[in-house]
């Protein structure tokens, strides 16, 4: 088992003929991801690397190849449109790698995706990997291994660091999900925690947070209330200087300054252990799984 995607997932790449799209499509193919189609408007009828059929629209790719998930590598200006197209064409899992998507666009896009009953991961995220089965996105395949740890993170490369450390320490992963660091994202910590909670393969969970917002605090309270599996936390940004924050609205609305100290305290108040260093995470997992 795994969450969100496994070896049966039929994957489409939007922007497959671009620089990043083609590079990572090959990485995914190499990893074993079932890439059944690509989409680049205007390049319909071609084949990517002489094998993967390319279509002008997602609709055609879904009709012809039965794609159920899509990974998006199109430029920021077109990312919202690509996400909406995927959701509108019946794709149920959309992973948006693209960074730099305007936040106001994402407000509408996230609603559109949920109105269409799909799940969006990202944008500005590394995607997900269910080790040994499939990967959708840019997480390097070699750092992960199958196992009992679920990983969810707002970060990209920091996730790799932690996953790599887990693997080296002998703790494989069920699924590693990078949910993205943007203010407005499709899938949040709590969605992933709930999915890991019901995933039989997952026995412990690593949650990697950052400064800003109050997602970690909400996750901490959710863990205490609704999760039975052990969770280990890490929060980056303890040395971040206090911002030259202008305006009050953010603090008024969340009742929070979003500092790492506040997040770490909230985790601990809610019974979640927090590692000090990324490479310390495997030790905490060891004791969680041992206990």
């Amino acid at each position: 088992m795994a969450i969100f995607a496994d070896k049966k997932t039929r994957v489409l790449i939007q922007g497959i003929t671009g620089r990043d799209g083609s590079f990572h499509a090959r990485q995914m193919l190499e990893y074993g991801t079932q890439i059944v189609a690509g989409v680049t408007p205007g390049k319909g009828g071609q084949r990517f690397d002489d094998s993967v059929p390319v279509f002008d629209t997602v609709d055609e790719a879904v009709q012809a190849e039965g794609a159920t998930a899509s990974v998006i590598y199109v430029p920021a200006a077109f990312a919202s449109s690509a996400i909406c197209e995927a959701a509108d064409s019946g794709i149920s899992l959309i992973v948006a790698i693209t960074e730099g998507v305007p936040v106001l666009d994402m407000l509408r896009t996230v609603r559109y995706v949920s109105d269409r009953g799909a799940r969006l991961i990202g944008p500005n995220c590394p995607g997900l990997i269910s080790p040994g089965q499939t990967k959708l996105g840019i997480i390097p395949g070699q750092i992960a291994a199958p196992g009992p740890v679920g990983v969810v993170s707002r970060s990209g490369t920091l996730t790799y660091e932690v996953v790599s450390a887990l693997t080296r320490a002998g703790y494989g992963q069920s699924t590693c999900v990078g949910i993205g660091g943007d203010p407005i994202i499709g899938t949040n910590f709590i969605d992933c925690l709930d999915a890991f909670e019901v995933d039989p393969q997952t026995e412990a969970i690593v949650l990697i947070g950052e400064i800003g917002g109050s997602d970690e605090q909400e996750a901490a309270r959710h863990i205490k209330e609704d999760l039975s599996k052990p969770v280990v936390g890490f929060v980056a940004g303890r040395t971040a200087p206090p911002g030259r924050r202008m305006g009050h609205a953010g603090a008024i609305i969340s009742g929070s300054q979003g500092t790492a100290a506040e997040k770490i305290a909230t985790f601990r108040e809610n019974g979640v252990e927090v590692a000090e260093r990324p490479l310390e995470v495997p030790d905490f997992i060891a004791s969680a799984l041992g206990g």
Partner: protein, 380 residues
């Protein structure tokens, strides 16, 4: 991107919000002239991208041109939260019968724009929110429908119950505030205070606006509002090449890919007894030129005693970074010792490139950070 109060006031005025007059001065003489033109009492306000100006002495009330010049001179000599004040706004002092607060912000938790209003406006608004949250009225804007007329009206009547005239004025300002936010691609807009004049007219006295950087590519007129004087030259260069760079007080220069890993690296530098000299994220699609710029920016900071590369390749390819380091070492004289840690995508090619150029690379983050901290201490 932050914009200045005087720029935000102008954007709000363009959207039809009643903003009193005011002009910007960069010298005390200019400030004096503007004050003479308006006559009577004027307010002099530091234009700087930081909160808490008032407490830092950046806002003063002056009676006449001479005093305006004097106060402007004092304010233009200030540094507020590390930022030098290079501009002041000079505006006629308003008669104030009441102060309210209006704000709009992208709320991460609910995934919508939230409009906020309080009849308890002024500098203590966060305290109002914390102690008497029932005095903060909120409207969530469903992004599928935008702000609806009844929502603006509801806020207006909440702010000024029993005063239909002011309630309607406020509703109009709320609608325009939201429009201004969307048109500018802002993630935060505030009017604080929204004052009532003794004759019952509403006026937006102070305005704040944060622009989402991701909106700038399609809004060149907003990008033009950027005040490069308010940034260090290094920050300007970094942005030009697509790096995120924030200068700090320490001596370990860090070049990292990814904001989360960059922060974790800084945390680790501190954990091992060092002090990070900067936050520097080379971002996702790196190319060798970015790395050259990164090294140029860091070596320009004379406080840097040790340079640490921490790269975990994903969409960033390690070979790109390696090529950048090699290229930079040809172009620039890099005095501080460089510690390189890289792993992930195209790691092997990278190691090969570095070794053929005489560099060595490590794969363990803790080890690399410890070494960089140690090197900085040796060169103190």
């Amino acid at each position: 991107m932050d914009i200045h109060e005087y720029q935000a006031r102008e954007l709000l005025r363009e959207h039809g919000i009643p903003v009193p007059p005011g002009e910007v001065a960069t010298t005390s003489e200019q400030a004096g002239e503007i004050a003479r033109k308006y006559g009577g009492r004027v307010v002099i306000k530091a234009q700087v991208h930081a909160g808490g100006r008032g407490k830092a002495g950046g806002v003063k009330l002056a009676d006449g041109s001479a005093e305006a010049r004097k106060f402007a001179e004092q304010i233009l000599a200030l540094e507020i939260k590390g930022l030098p004040v290079t501009k002041v706004l000079v505006a006629p002092a308003e008669e104030i019968a009441h102060e309210a607060y209006l704000g709009a912000v992208v709320d991460r938790s609910s995934g919508v724009v939230v409009l906020m209003a309080s009849s308890e406006g002024g500098i203590d608004i966060e305290e109002v929110a914390a102690k008497t949250p029932e005095l903060i009225y909120k409207e969530q804007v469903d992004p599928r429908y935008g702000l609806l007329a009844h929502q603006a009206s509801r806020l207006g009547f909440k702010l000024y119950p029993g005063d239909a005239g002011r309630a309607r004025q406020a509703a109009g300002i709320v609608r325009k505030l939201y429009d201004a936010m969307i048109d500018a691609g802002a993630s935060l807009v505030e009017i604080n205070p929204l004052v009532t004049t003794p004759t019952g007219e509403l006026r937006a006295i102070d305005a704040k606006m944060n622009i989402d950087d991701n909106e700038l590519f399609r809004r060149p007129q907003i990008e033009e509002l950027r005040d490069s004087e308010s940034e260090t030259p290094a920050e300007v260069e970094a942005r030009d090449v697509g790096l995120t760079y924030i200068e700090l007080d320490g001596d370990v220069g860090c070049v990292v890919n990814g904001a989360g890993l960059a922060m974790a690296t800084m945390d680790l530098v501190k954990y091992y007894g060092g002090q990070p000299a900067n936050f520097l994220d080379i971002g996702g699609s790196s190319n060798p030129e970015k790395v050259v710029s990164a090294l140029r920016i860091i070596t320009a900071d004379s406080a840097v005693k040790s340079i640490l590369f921490n790269i975990f390749g994903g969409i960033t390819r390690c070979d790109d970074v390696a090529n950048g380091i090699v290229e930079a070492s040809r172009q620039i004289e890099v005095t501080p010792p460089i510690t390189i840690r890289l792993t992930g995508t195209n790691e092997e090619e990278a190691v090969q490139i570095l070794e053929s150029a005489g560099f060595s690379a490590m794969t363990d983050m803790d080890e690399a950070v410890r070494k960089a901290v140690q090197l900085a201490k040796q060169h103190e």
